[in-house]
């Protein structure tokens, strides 16, 4: 196993850890807003780390830029989706338990 492969593997494993954290958050957190918080951070960073690992592994600028594009679009889509879902949930059942400054 070359050094590049080792580093790439580390990134992939770190990505996996974030996905795992996201899933645990999804299952364990008390309400929809907490779950949203856990999940969006976890899977965006997770996808990013997996992309970095795979880019290192392929070693081609073309592939790396494709992966970067996928990650950026993924960030945008996840952000908008999370915002829309959170707003839907918020408007549905008034403020959540842990109210921020109003």
């Amino acid at each position: 196993m070359s050094v590049e492969e080792g580093i790439a593997l580390l990134f992939l494993l770190a990505g996996c850890a974030f996905y795992l954290a996201g899933t645990i958050g999804l299952l364990r957190f008390p309400d929809v807003f907490c779950r949203l918080h856990a999940l969006t951070k976890a899977d965006n960073v997770g996808l990013g780390l997996v992309c970095v690992g795979l880019a290192l592994l392929s070693g081609q600028a073309r592939v790396a830029s494709m992966l970067l594009l996928i990650w950026l679009v993924g960030l945008l889509a996840a952000t908008v989706s999370a915002h829309l879902i959170a707003r839907h949930a918020y408007e549905r059942d008034a403020p959540p338990e842990h109210e921020g400054p109003s």
Partner: protein
């Protein structure tokens, strides 16, 4: 070893998701299961080595059917309790025998396919030998246009017929029934559209161009364009009308008419019908088909006769 584990897991997930999607007590849960089933199906296509189908699954499954079901669910909810989505289903006594019989049939056919010697697909070999003569690298596009031109032509006609049938069944002027999302107005949606719509068009054109030599083609490109249209309809940037303007009509008819006109041309030189006269004709037909497929799918989704820009959106 790992490959086997991955494939087994995909198969298990597919079966259980399929069962959950149709047998759940809750319609909404069923929709989510169906969407996840689509995602998993794309993985299965990828594992079988069929990226074309994975791509179609991505565009149709992620872009169209999920949203279509969500909008249908919304209408069911809006109709209220007297049309409860959970009206008790009529159970037929034949249901279980039919299910078991179908399962057995699939099992027998599958077993037969496994046990039979795989004959060397001669037709496939001939196709692969012929393609380079036309300068085509993608066997699927080649088969669709060069060898099964009539089928492909009729498929476009079927889509058009489906659109006509849907229009004939649809009510008119019921503005409460639009697919538009009522309160999407947050600046983020505009930002999303500003990035995703141009990117979608770019990818569709790329798939169309790439379709002659690698994964892609008119159907995938059309479905991707249609997804962009669905995004515009959902966000209220485009709204439905009852009758089509000239541009929409042109779009719907472009694929079929271009195919028929170019397909008739060989008769002038005394060649067979639908003998395509060269790469330019393939590009032309594919482009026209992409536009028609996209237009028809968007109109079907929006339950619309036509579309117009909506600046208030």
């Amino acid at each position: 070893m790992m490959a086997l584990l991955l494939d087994g897991l995909i198969v298990l997930a597919l079966v259980s998701l399929a069962v959950q999607a149709i047998s759940g007590r809750s319609l909404f849960r069923g929709i989510i299961h169906f969407v996840v089933f689509g995602l998993t199906m794309a993985l299965a296509w990828a594992r079988i080595g069929a990226p074309d189908l994975a791509m179609a699954e991505a565009a149709i499954g992620a872009g169209l059917t999920g949203a279509l079901m969500m909008v249908a669910y919304r209408r069911l909810v809006a109709q209220g309790d007297n049309h409860s989505p959970r009206a008790p289903a009529q159970k037929s006594r034949l249901a279980i025998p039919i299910a078991v019989g179908s399962g057995l049939l699939v099992g027998v056919i599958g077993l037969g396919a496994l046990l039979a010697d795989n004959p060397p697909g001669e037709a496939g070999l001939i196709v692969l030998e012929t393609l380079p003569e036309y300068g085509l690298g993608n066997a699927i596009t080649g088969v669709l246009l060069l060898f099964r031109g009539l089928d492909t032509l009729l498929e476009i006609a079927v889509l058009l017929t489906a659109l006509l049938a849907a229009r004939a069944l649809a009510g008119t002027g019921d503005s409460s029934a639009t697919a538009r999302t009522q309160h999407p107005e947050t600046p983020l949606v505009g930002a999303l559209l500003a990035v995703v719509i141009p990117l979608t068009i770019l990818v569709a054109v790329h798939l169309l161009r790439a379709g002659t030599h690698e994964t892609g083609g008119a159907f995938q490109a059309g479905a991707v364009l249609a997804a962009a249209g669905v995004l515009l309809v959902l966000s209220g940037r485009v709204s439905r009308t009852d009758t089509a303007g000239p541009l929409v009509r042109l779009g719907i008819l472009a694929g079929l008419s271009a195919f028929i006109l170019i397909g008739l041309m060989p008769l002038l030189y005394g060649e067979a019908l639908l003998t395509l006269p060269g790469m330019w004709s393939i590009y032309l037909i594919e482009t026209a088909m992409m536009v028609s497929i996209a237009a028809a799918l968007i109109l079907l989704f929006a339950d619309a006769g036509g579309l117009k820009r909506d600046r208030r959106g």
